[in-house]
Symmetry: C2
Subunit: 168 residues, 2 copies
Amino acid sequence: MLAAMSLRIALLGLLTTVGPASGYDLAKTFDGSLNYVWQAGHTQIYPELVKMHADGLVTVEAEGARGRKIYAITPEGERELRTWMEEHDPVLPGRSEIALQAFLLHLVDHDQAIAVVERIRARYRAQLERLKALRPGEFGRHAHALGLTLARAGLQWADTTLADLRGD
Amino acid sequence: MLAAMSLRIALLGLLTTVGPASGYDLAKTFDGSLNYVWQAGHTQIYPELVKMHADGLVTVEAEGARGRKIYAITPEGERELRTWMEEHDPVLPGRSEIALQAFLLHLVDHDQAIAVVERIRARYRAQLERLKALRPGEFGRHAHALGLTLARAGLQWADTTLADLRGD
DNA sequence: CGGTACATGTAAAAGGTTACATGATTTC
DNA sequence: GAAATCATGTAACCTTTTACATGTACCG
């Protein structure tokens, strides 16, 4: 069993949380709230559901109009999900364009550096606003709190850095 | 020109910051400090340098012992790097195993939830310690500050969440 | 009957990881 | 002369993105 497969876990988690759903539904949910913690488009979700079906983690519970297929999690899928939560040691994101720009700030001149940090600030600001606008429950409560905390921290860094750059 | 290509930017940034270097050197630097903002192994770096050479962004300045090749950034490479810093709107990391576990916390029982958050806490703690141990200058000053701020925020979330879980 | 939302897919390319492979130089 | 480090690479595989492709049902 591979270490990654987080897309699988996200799908199994959604099926457990919201009950049986189609790939289309799951893609919408990704778009609406889960996308703050894990992103995936329908072109990744549909084939993955087929593989999960082959692996016995989900079943096709019903087929509706327009070829709609309703997937439900199986006991084996539940076991896989629980095992991952209990045993998987999560890794910190190892790539961040924002952190890379921060890292390379010294390579651009003073005014450009300010512009870069202001762009980063706007990103964190937008993230914070989007998270604040989410209805509670639309997003896992603890993940929501984590997202808010990290967005506020990023914003704080941007403000401190701008003050530093301007007042030198 | 594609939107991503951040590995290229990271390599160009390093060549500008530390001067001409071999793929081996660059891989070491990735390992030592840049890895907090962008990760890449030598198997990704070597072929990328070859492509960047073909695209005129770097030159092979010298060849040393053991087939060592010293790459230097070209004016075109400098232009590419500057353009990215000036124009690229950075995106927030869209996938986090930590956030995914936080999102799915409600699916495991109380004791397991505490164990999950403690594991996450240990991750942020280790990150914070590693960043604090870095000699200043070994890591871009602003990226270092951002890393510290985000690690402290994650730690804070973990502490708050643990208190919340324990005192219900 | 035209537009929007529903619903599912495939294929090619890009980005990233793991395993394999080779050989030179230095240090003890 | 054995071990560690230097130094570069390839191949297979997995993950993710982008572009292409198709057809159904509902709403006005």
